[in-house]
Symmetry: C2
Subunit: 354 residues, 2 copies
């Protein structure tokens, strides 16, 4: 059993924003939410169960927010929203969870399970279903390894709740997304109720502690003026572009924040332009274009992370704006994504970016 | 206990189309569905419980199809679709229904509870929640008298199911409608799980047998060449226009068939035009317009029924077409609708037709 303390909140928020490929919701909103939840419960620590200590007989439920991260800044979640979804699913399946798990590592969504843990007293699993963030519910290794997202409980700020039993996880996504749009763009899910043995087979190990380590390295690096080295070492990040944001197109559509940013090259990248396309998360980074042949610099499922040039803190898709000077990195995704069919699930094809 | 036989199917379908104000789905589709369900179960009769024999301790569930009736002709329901919603709700509330009830009298939706009855062996209540048909789930006297539509089970052709717990019946409608659109425009609901004592307070009495009587009178009247008199006598119908359909605008939008028809006057109505606006159901009939002052001839919640001039059979909103010669009637709705707030729930305001 590991302990997650108040001092780990900021590192987790920052590390999750790195692994989140720009999505999963705004990390600072998540950090505030978790801090207030722990304080309300008078907690200094939350128990985290290392992946190899998860028991085959454990019963896990994943907890997350869904919808456009850009709307997530306006419609702030409360801990009761997430708790309502979690308790709603427990009550529907008639079984109490023994562990809460993140569905993804990214922005707010790796902090949300700790919020639920602080409210319920349950430990959090050191694992997740993506090892990064993806915009759609079925885009997980759990689905990839044949596990089912259903039944799912969806809650929202007013108190409406929904139980979804989908014939496939894509149908769960379609139904939940339509409801999320009806709710105004944000909802809270309890999803993938799983036996420990199934979770161990489909989930990505140690991803929560990995995010904390990356965040801590980066924050320490920032203090010691070697942030870029710290980032590169902690997650095998590779610098792929340096420049200035000259265009941001972002539409809240179909329950997602969809668009792209254009970054005009600086320093060694002068006279080049990088276009980064996103659907909640950065998915495709291309250079060239008008003035030359377009080349892919990074492609989903690998992680694309855009960092402020001065602070080297990550810039999520909801906080992109004109004039930001930035460095763009690609980070390899967990090898658990190397299975037949992964490309259909989370490759360019899945996002109609092919 | 009354018995509903195979010979009652056509009268119920026709009578429901009259009371349905043009909506509630196509009655002939409903009749085919019920006949095939009874035949599959080898049934000649289905038990109907008279309203005054419903017990305070009975447990009722309403069964219906939802979505655009125009799509209901293309996506034909099977009895298993309705049954799946019904069993899903029973299972969620952990209680077996003792009676099935229509939510509305109209087209397919007054036949659907008999389909569920034939599949489950349950009797059908001789009552409903509208005494006619309305396009939205919350537009019932049940909601009007303070009863709750939740929890609701929604099923659809592929096998996806949904449980909705709404904070209000308007929210149930919004969520269910968004899901129905996601499913392609048609879904099947089990809704308003109610104690007998509550149902007796909020439901409209004897409406199922009333529909059968209207249908039988009209069919006999057609045989004896006095169909119009038979219609007028059986339901207090009042002729408000005679003419030819010269325009039909019908859009499948937001999960509804929305539009209007224009009828050019004939005989005593020559030189006048009637415009009938609908959202699944006919809601507002106006005469005049371009050539004179516009006058309201019939207004929701009163029933508007358009009948073929030759056969005097009702023409539902999904079967309107250019060139039909028709007679338009208004029929008074059940007095159970006379309560404060009814106008906000089902008046012109509720349909943005004010």
């Amino acid at each position: 059993m590991m302990l997650f303390g108040l001092d780990d909140i900021e590192p987790l928020a920052v590390g999750s924003a790195v692994l989140g490929s720009g999505g999963g919701g705004n990390p600072y909103v998540g950090a505030l939410l978790l801090r207030s939840s722990m304080e309300a419960k008078g907690l200094n620590k939350i128990s985290v169960t290392p992946f190899d200590q998860i028991d085959e007989s454990d019963f896990l439920i994943c907890s997350a927010g869904m919808g456009s991260p850009a709307i997530g800044i306006e419609k702030l979640a409360t801990y009761t929203d997430h708790l309502r979804a979690f308790r709603g699913l427990e009550s529907y399946v008639g079984r109490k969870a023994t562990l809460v798990s993140p569905i993804e590592i990214g922005g707010i969504n790796s902090l949300v399970p700790l919020v639920v843990a602080s409210q319920t007293g349950l430990p959090v699993a050191d694992g997740d279903g993506e090892g990064r963030a993806f915009p759609e519910l079925q885009m997980t290794t759990l689905t990839g390894y044949g596990l089912s997202a259903s039944p799912v409980c969806l809650a929202e700020e007013r108190g409406n709740t929904l139980i979804i039993n989908g014939i496939s996880d894509i149908w769960v996504e379609r139904i939940a997304r339509a409801a999320t749009v009806t709710f105004g763009g944000r909802a809270y899910v309890a999803i993938y109720p799983l036996e420990g043995r199934d979770y161990l087979r489909g989930a990505i190990p140690n991803s929560l502690s990995h995010a904390v380590n990356i965040g801590r390295s980066l924050l320490e690096g920032i203090q010691h003026k070697n942030a870029e080295d710290a980032l590169v070492e902690s997650c095998d990040a590779k610098l792929i572009f340096v420049g200035k944001v000259v265009d941001v197109k972002r539409y809240n559509t179909r329950g997602f924040a969809v668009g792209y940013t254009k970054v005009e090259g600086l320093d060694g990248y002068a006279h080049d332009i990088m276009k980064v396309s996103f659907q909640n998360e950065y998915l495709l980074a291309e250079t060239g274009g008008a003035r030359g042949e377009r080349r892919r610099a990074a492609v989903t499922p690998d992680i694309i992370s855009i960092h402020d040039m001065e602070t080297l803190l990550p810039i999520t898709t909801d906080s992109l704006r004109y004039g930001q000077r930035c460095k763009v990195f690609s980070i390899p995704v967990s090898r658990k994504w190397e299975f037949p069919g992964a490309d259909e699930l989370v490759g360019l094809k899945a996002f109609k970016l092919e």
